[in-house]
Assembly symmetry: C2
Homo-oligomer: 366 residues x 2
DNA sequence: AATTGGTTCTGAACCGTTACGGTCAATCCA
DNA sequence: TGGATTGACCGTAACGGTTCAGAACCAATT
């Protein structure tokens, strides 16, 4: 071990330069601009670096100087691990990862605790830009992101004036789905929706709450239903809407139970997500209700499991959405880029929607 | 817009201090150590910051000075998006994310292209440490990570002397599974395994290749099988082993087909992952082979889909593994921490393993 | 009156790098 | 031959903060 030159502190570019008797610039160039020095000197630099255990320019110092971090920040207000549970979020994440990977950018998952209002993590993230996904319009973390002098792209959820955005036409898409149910004959329906605002409200939703939901996507989907059923002459004020804070199959089941208990005569359960719809299907099965003969159930998103069970739903290109968000962000330097991207959705007929049973059928069977 | 003080460059801590007529230290303290200045002055600082649009201390500059990035790097040699596809990787990721979240650390996904040897991304990542998952022992990215002066934890895959590690007893676990098959009476078996080294080799595996596999986990699992079947008097050199580069259900199916074509008399297909096993099941179904009556199939990992189809497999705690890796890394300052964590596995009996049919049964039915 | 202690704020060093605008000698060209 | 060009390298000034050892001030204590 006599070889070790008691390196108290690890070598830096400066110490390496000193050792070599060249300027720091030259060492820097050896790493970053090989054409700026002779091959021979460069070889010497790199060799000495190896000998001294110099790992190459410090990324943080470099970032400070170049004003580039080489990473994209991702903000989602749910617990980080939520993103790994929800198939739609996962698809988005995958698409975003693909875009980053393609551009050689890292993906920095910002750790935020949805319960606390600790915004520090947003300020601490060394990133060149942010993608914000699935947070309410009034989220303090979102505000923190926007306060930072880096480009930001919002996906779906928060609707912010003047900020680049990628999403779908939630309102129009669910309107089309609703019109289908209407043409099948459904008039007495119930709705299961996700969290509408930051506060927990597991239960029925007032018209006011629905209209002022801070989760933009949910608000838009409810509005789309209002559009369609309002036009069909259904008094929307009487349509039961049940909200769940947690987004899970179990939540969907319990919400369906709550709604069916309160109004056993609904002929269709419209869910604002496939996950909730899967829960509704489970609850229907539990009650011995056949789908779609006794009850129509619809979802939204088009996740793999929905496909598997033949759910009537709206498919949206989640992976493409993530990729688009990434590309949009990474193209921020280009002033001619689109400022907003709306992706297409597709109505999936599925097998969980059918005409409602008539009163006679209810009593005497089909 | 007369109010705007033509801010060419965004405000910095220094410009803010100048505006206020205080020192930079004081402004810094206003953000980081509120107890170091009078509440009144602090209020003024923060107010002026808001007015000037100063977003708070620059994270990169802060990182340079404090030598903390507040983020953990994750290296996996697969395409980044692979991690979002493979259930086992996903579980690991979720556990790791949980650990990071709990510690307020970001999770920085390092973008590496498995095809190219571009190590730059590793050098560019501003992180306090690395978790390395599922890369071969001789991966250049791994070497790059180790050259950086930050703590590193390896999960499962690369086996590196002197580096902290979390994993399972792959060899022992699969030995137990094999012994079960042996006691059921299986002697003529085939093996389906994942990528053994960085080069693509879709097909049969020589003994030499198996023994020198650079993917440590695969090597260990194959070795475990050798242990068990060797002890049972089976000539391992004659056991067909088929390798697949891509890890997917389709790969599993094609590997199973290749193996069954070459040796229709095997009574069991032992797969080194559940994903491959699911493919093997699909191929068996395609051929009209009943599982387990006509063919035994086993997996490894214990993913959700395996559970769903009742696969005989080994369950490993993937989420816990990710969490353990994170915790181990974040505890690097503690010299008394464990240097290696081995988690427990569990044999899942499942319903895809049964005694092999005898020759008579083969001809005359059960 | 001198000492002590506490609060509030400052000056200067430092973190490790890259951008910018040079210098200087060697080479090229007509 | 002399002016322009090129290649190789260097010095300085940031980049935007944090930190630590004091300075200045004031009130309380000895």
């Amino acid at each position: 071990m006599a070889r070790s030159t008691h390196v108290r502190r690890p070598a830096t570019l400066a110490s390496l330069a000193a050792e070599l008797g060249v300027s720091r610039t030259t060492v820097s160039n050896a790493y970053n601009r090989p054409d700026q020095l002779s091959p021979e000197l460069r070889r010497r630099v790199l060799e000495t670096a190896r000998r001294l255990g110099y790992p190459g320019p410090d990324p943080v110092a470099r970032s400070l100087r170049t004003r580039k971090a080489g990473a994209v920040g991702l903000l989602l207000t749910e617990n980080l691990s939520y993103a790994f549970r929800d198939p739609a979020a996962l698809g988005f994440l995958e698409g975003l990862a693909l875009a980053c990977e393609g551009a050689g950018q890292g993906l920095h998952l910002v750790p935020v605790n949805p319960e606390r209002e600790d915004v520090a993590a947003v300020h601490r993230a060394g990133v060149d830009g942010f993608v914000v996904y699935s947070v309410p319009d009034d989220d303090p973390h979102l505000a923190a992101v926007l306060s930072r002098p880096v480009p930001t792209v919002v996906a779906d959820q928060p609707h912010v004036e003047g900020v680049d955005r990628v999403g779908i036409d939630d309102r129009g898409a669910i309107t089309a789905l609703a019109q289908r149910l209407i043409s099948l004959g459904h008039r007495r329906v119930g709705v299961l929706c996700m969290r509408l605002a930051r506060d927990r409200n597991d239960g029925f939703v007032t018209t006011d709450r629905a209209e002022h939901a801070t989760f933009h996507v949910q608000r838009a989907r409810l509005a789309g239903l209002t559009d369609a059923f309002g036009a069909a002459g259904v008094d929307w004020g009487r349509v039961p809407v049940v909200e769940r804070f947690d987004h899970s199959v179990a939540s969907g089941a319990s919400a369906a139970a709550q709604l069916l208990d309160a109004d056993p005569h609904v002929t269709a359960l419209i869910c604002t997500s496939d996950i909730l719809a899967l829960g509704a299907l489970a609850e229907a099965r539990r009650r011995g209700l056949r789908v779609p003969q006794d009850l129509t159930v619809t979802g939204f998103d088009g996740i793999a499991d929905a496909d598997r069970v033949g759910l009537t739903t709206v498919r949206q290109p989640v992976l493409e959405k993530g990729r688009a968000a990434g590309k949009l962000l990474l193209a921020s330097v280009d002033p001619t880029r689109p400022r907003e991207i709306t992706l297409n959705t597709e109505l999936v007929p599925g097998a969980t929607a059918a005409p409602p049973r008539t009163a006679e059928e209810r009593w005497f069977g089909p």
